[in-house]
Symmetry: C2
């Protein structure tokens, strides 16, 4: 038996296999062994091969673009958007377009080639988060940008072309569709209920305990009721929080803890699958009140998108979020110290 579920924020439908949910063993296994250490441009000692760094966390007052860094941000050598120029909107008949202006940066998460986020220490993950905050703060100063998205592609199926652990940051001159839909959905929910839809979601998940698999003082991790992908999960502040960049060190520790614990559980549960994650924060420089209960969505790459999903935006989920949370809860968690 399957269940049709409607997303309370963006109105998307999914079809969830609630009775015959597939277990982790059903999904194909991947080999994530690193292969390209000898030529990797992100490795410590090869700083000259990347564009000059824009930010870093460094030990011992070491100079930029030399070794002795822990996390390092550089412009992407092959940016999808270029930082120079004006937006210059134009028309071609019925079509609107503009120049591809924006920022595209790479955040190298560790100097070591063979280490992945799930195996970082708490302090190492915290440094990554600190630089996420720095880059958001800094890129917000460029008034051309309306949205900044931080995301990570881990593994070949997640579309990564460089195996050395890294995240990416793209600043866009407009608010992208999926984010706008979430903002509009949250606003409609607020107008009706006078409450934040994500706060309500967090409350209900904490009460029901069916889809939560990890929790600490500040954050919850849960497989959302309307998951679009098997084993998809979200990390969300328990209390309303629209200021990711203003997170203090105590909260950063809590976020680092839950991020690495959940990634470790995901890795152990599904034999180190490819995954994507992205951070949804409020837009910037819109001239309006920029309010959004920020959260991170983590999407393992276990199945292929078919013509049905492409043609409808309707997802078939063969492992229910309740079953997925059960597997992620009961799997062993091995954290680096």
């Amino acid at each position: 038996m399957t269940e049709l579920r409607r997303d309370p924020v963006i109105g998307q439908w999914v079809n969830v296999h609630v009775e015959d949910s597939l277990g982790p063993d059903h999904y194909e296994k991947e080999d994530q062994t690193p292969k390209h250490e000898a030529t990797c441009q992100f490795c410590s000692g090869r700083e000259h091969l990347t564009p000059p760094e824009v930010d870093a966390i460094r030990a011992n007052d070491s100079a930029p673009n030399t070794p002795d860094w822990q996390v390092r941000v550089v412009p992407n050598k092959f940016p999808v958007l270029k930082i120079e120029g004006n937006i210059d909107e134009a028309k071609e008949g019925m079509f609107n377009f503009s120049n591809g202006v924006g920022a595209h940066e790479v955040l190298i998460e560790t100097p070591a080639h063979n280490k992945n986020l799930a195996d970082f220490t708490e302090g190492e993950v915290r440094d990554v988060i600190r630089l996420y905050q720095n880059r958001l703060r800094d890129l917000t100063r460029d008034r051309r940008f309306k949205y900044i998205i931080i995301f990570k592609n881990y593994g070949e199926l997640a579309g990564t072309s460089v195996e050395h652990a890294h995240s990416q940051i793209i600043a866009l001159p407009m608010i992208p569709k999926y984010v706008q839909e979430k903002i509009d959905g949250a606003k409609a929910y607020y107008d009706q209920h006078k409450r934040c839809v994500f706060c309500d979601m967090a409350s209900q998940e904490r009460e029901e305990k069916k889809r939560i698999f990890c929790e600490n003082k500040d954050f919850i991790a849960f497989c959302p009721f309307v998951s679009r992908y098997a084993f998809e999960y979200w990390i969300m502040p328990r209390q309303h929080d629209s200021k990711f960049v203003e997170m203090n060190d105590k909260k950063r520790i809590a976020l680092a803890d839950i991020l690495r614990e959940t990634l470790s559980r995901l890795k152990n549960c599904l034999s180190d699958p490819s995954y994507n994650y992205y951070l949804h924060v409020a837009p910037v420089n819109t001239g309006k009140k920029e309010e959004f209960h920020w959260h991170i969505e983590i999407v393992p790459k276990l199945t292929r998108v078919t013509g049905f999903e492409l043609g409808t935006g309707f997802y078939v989920v063969r492992t229910s979020p309740e079953a997925a949370a059960g597997y992620l809860r009961s799997v062993q968690c091995s954290l680096a110290v």
Copy 2:
């Protein structure tokens, strides 16, 4: 240099590489050699292995579920939605859900295991289209269904699990999000311009001749200005047409011609890539005027979706539609007779 383009119907943004577009050789090659003929349940002579057929085009008055068919429709053995039962909407706290009621059928396009749509004769493709029309007509009679989507997954990267040429038909108890967005976008365009957005698109494409690569008396095939994927193309009636099911034999021939010609060009251009296609028609049984300029979207699977696309709904397209149309126009077309 890249160009940011905004979809005139659904407002989605894409980032198109207009100056350094990648050519067909850049994309990975796949091996589509069929491997499972010995056990294939869709092959002629194994009709007893599928659920009993619901429709077929048969020669010589042959009996249902025996050989001597050309195209055959059977219920999917592993349906994502079940045909029996009521929708029974319910709530769990803030979440809405209902039973997974719907229809899920498989249309076996040929009795031969080793033959793919791109290599069909015009008559064979026409038979497939005729059964598409039959199934749409028949499933519309079930008043529980609000939308019927016909789609095809070709090749492993497109998510197919059965290599024998087939399409799928899913009838849904609601209008899915992507379709609703198109309908809303088309309505908004009509309210503003008093013209159909797809008619305007067809006119502009025919005038500019930059993105059209195939055309006949009734249809055009073009890579849309706002392609989300490299080498994506659409087949659309030249004149306004909201009645796919009422298409007569003359028009069916024209559609069969352009479908197989474009699939043959795609195959020759990109070494037989995996692809998905889906047919966008008007919703059914909504109690309103059901109006939509129907079209088919064909999406080759050449790149992986990353965290950026997942998190934003903003697509990066490394082959511009203008370049893609150029390649598809100039490649050799080898049609079966």
